[in-house]
């Protein structure tokens, strides 16, 4: 035969909880009430922390911030699927993954306030600081996964990238390496439909972003990113495969950025309220609440008490952020393993000018 088909590929879509909070009986994972409530509470905490962050920025108490609103399920459910020894490297819009790993909230507030100490995460949280240059962290994730594989302790690596990030060379190079090296890596594409003002349709001509895995020989799936159960299930399965030596997986989580790109952005310039309102109906938290309610795991009182706890936790973290007194000398201390003579001289000069603080 001169001409024959040499490859055929397809991509599945997974939704377990529909928009009314009804679970598909066949697909519903058997999760304990404990983990379901943890998932819900992490999403609630994320929304509260997110809301506080925007307010702090507006009040001039924090710098530019990238809101998570509407995307709580992706980072929360994916990170909760991690085992204690797994590692994570999210983007700036899945910082709830850090919360899931036990990174103290004040670290996150500090980073957004522009304090380096905010990237100094405690031991045991197995979390890497996110990279602001889009997509540049993905090769690191492959390298981390390589190191985990080599350590031979059945650990896996989880990372995230936006729809915009899939256009970067680093994304493609990383998937290629991950496929060739068969590293224990799960890459979640957070397709929130926008990369600042550029819509998903102008980011890539491919029908799905998940299918990009096919080109690199990596199993891939698209999930409803506003369905925490679907995200949890897909990521759990992928992590199990990764830990057991079956290589990487690419997951596209379809969600929507309900808010502005960052606090410096004005989305009314490039998108319609109509589109935003359509997505409001698919709110991940609302949906999960209904699901828990049907399972008799939710009451108004339960949520109110949780929210009280969270607002206290947030206030305490903000207080810690604000109590943190930065020391300009630190700028010189971590450039190299030791302060060079050149830097000592410059530090002394800085002291001469700003010893009493910057005017």
């Amino acid at each position: 035969m001169a001409r024959r088909r040499v490859y055929e590929g397809s991509v599945d879509y997974l939704q377990i909880l529909n928009e009314k909070g009804v679970a598909d009986k066949k697909l519903e994972p058997k999760l304990s009430p404990g983990i379901l409530k943890t998932m819900f509470e992490l999403m609630l905490l994320t929304r509260a922390y997110d809301d506080k962050s925007v307010k702090l920025q507006r009040q001039g108490r924090m710098g530019t911030y990238a809101p998570i609103l509407g995307q709580e399920a992706v980072g929360a459910a994916a990170a909760l699927a991690l085992g204690k020894d797994d590692w994570v490297l999210p983007t700036y819009r899945e910082t709830q993954a850090y919360i899931a790993r036990g990174v103290p909230l004040e670290k996150l507030f500090m980073y957004w306030k522009g304090i380096e100490e905010g990237m100094n995460f405690p031991e045991g949280t197995n979390s890497f600081p996110f990279a602001i240059p889009i997509g540049t962290h993905l090769p690191h994730a492959v390298g981390i996964a390589f190191a985990l594989k080599r350590a031979g302790r059945k650990q896996a690596m989880l990372t995230f990238v936006g729809d915009g990030g899939t256009s970067q060379g680093d994304f493609h190079e990383s998937l290629n390496f991950a496929g060739v090296w068969q590293v224990p890596l799960v890459v979640v594409i957070v397709n929130n439909h926008w990369a600042i003002s550029v819509p998903r349709s102008e980011q890539s001509a491919s029908a799905t972003l998940a299918q990009k895995g096919l080109g690199y020989g990596i199993p891939c799936i698209q999930v409803d990113g506003n369905d925490a159960l679907a995200v949890y299930k897909a990521v759990s399965d992928a992590l199990i495969n990764a830990r057991s030596g079956k290589g990487p997986t690419l997951i596209e989580a379809v969600t929507y950025r309900m808010s502005m790109h960052t606090t410096a952005d004005d989305p009314t310039k490039y998108r319609s309220d109509k589109e935003v309102n359509e997505w409001k109906k698919r709110d991940p938290i609302e949906r999960f609440r209904k699901y828990l309610q049907k399972k008799k795991l939710w009451t108004k009182n339960y949520e109110a008490r949780a929210m009280e706890r969270f607002s206290k936790q947030i206030d305490e973290a903000v207080a810690k952020m604000e109590a943190y007194k930065g020391d300009p000398h630190d700028m010189f201390k971590y450039v190299w393993s030791e302060i060079t003579d050149n830097l000592k001289e410059q530090m002394a000069e800085m002291e001469k000018f700003y010893g009493a603080g910057k005017p």
Binding site: G63, G114, A195, S197, A264, M331
Partner: protein, 325 residues
């Protein structure tokens, strides 16, 4: 008309798009959104998506495709959203943009203008405020321009858009909206490769460019009140640099202080002072000084004010230089 620097650049791009059909703007969010700094505001509506193009998120491809377009006779104006993301395209700039003319012995040339908002001081996020000019000055084959006022920006960009060589146009973010000044509506050009004496003086030459220029001008005015009369040289084009104007000024004053926000080691001041030593050494009455960023990673926004040179450091350097006999 009184315009900010962002508006002056916008006005220039508008005029040039109308003048030359070969000009195409491309980059992340430059179209519908009008750019994150609003520099391309309104141009998408006016010239359409064929000429003001929102691209996918990939700096390497933004610059790489521009190189191909330019080689074929178009005049692309790629925008990198923030200096810190220009590195993703740096291999294209270094391996191709800087060399195409030379390696084809002039058969292919790249008349493109790569616009990059540069420098810090706007309390933006990590990687959003880098002093990167030396990385570009270090590449023969590229014209590097850093405007210092709205008027200058409009005239220099108009020249860049007629240049036969690829231009890296470094727009000081800090000055985008810092103030307005009178900018003529009609088209005018300011030649590339020519520095300007921003303030005449006789006691000392203060040499700077781009973002630091207004601060240095203020420092000079205050010094004048205190009895020192500095000359301020605004380099405008960093490469090829107008060394004649620099050395002439230093020969006249016998003293020099160079100011920029990039790190000290191999910052442009190193080259400027080396040239002064080569060309005006015997006219010097004091060792030249430089006021620069420290040799550190630029701190995140909470600490950034401790990094950038400011008036207090600049004035102190001038006074120390003046005190030398």
């Amino acid at each position: 008309m009184k315009l900010t620097m962002a508006q002056a650049i916008n006005a220039c791009l508008d005029q040039e798009l109308a003048r030359d059909r070969k000009i195409i703007l491309l980059g992340e969010d430059v179209g519908v959104d009008g750019g994150v700094f609003r520099v391309t505001e309104g141009l998408y509506a006016k010239y359409g998506k064929e000429r003001v193009m929102d691209t996918p998120l990939a700096e390497s491809a933004i610059v790489g495709t521009s190189i191909g377009m330019a080689a074929m006779g178009l005049r692309p104006v790629p925008e990198i959203q923030f200096d810190g993301f220009s590195f993703m395209a740096y291999h294209q700039v270094l391996c191709h943009m800087a060399r195409m003319r030379n390696r084809t012995r002039g058969r292919f040339t790249l008349p493109l203008v790569l616009r990059i908002p540069y420098g810090g001081g706007i309390k933006a996020l990590e990687h959003h405020g880098e002093g990167i000019e030396s990385l570009y000055i270090h590449l023969p084959g590229i014209v590097v321009v850093a405007p210092s006022t709205p008027y200058e920006a409009k005239g220099l960009l108009a020249s860049a858009l007629e240049s036969k060589d690829p231009v890296v146009f470094l727009e000081p973010k800090k000055l985008y909206r810092a103030y307005k000044e009178e900018v003529p509506e009609e088209r005018y050009t300011i030649p590339l490769g020519k520095a300007r004496i921003a303030k005449e003086g006789k006691d000392i030459s203060m040499i700077t460019y781009g973002a630091q220029t207004p601060m240095v001008m203020e420092a000079a005015a205050e010094l004048e009140q205190e009895g020192i009369n500095p000359e301020v040289v605004d380099l405008r084009t960093l490469n090829p640099c107008d060394w004649d104007t620099v050395t002439e000024s230093v020969r006249k004053t016998g003293r020099a202080v160079v100011v920029h926000e990039a790190v000290k080691t191999l910052g442009f001041a190193s080259e400027i002072i080396a040239r002064i030593n080569e060309k005006a050494f015997y006219h010097l009455q004091a060792a030249p000084k430089r006021v620069t960023g420290w040799d550190t990673i630029i701190p995140l926004l909470a600490g950034e004010d401790y990094f950038f040179p400011d008036k207090s450091r600049v004035k102190a350097a001038v006074k120390e230089t003046m005190a030398e006999k």
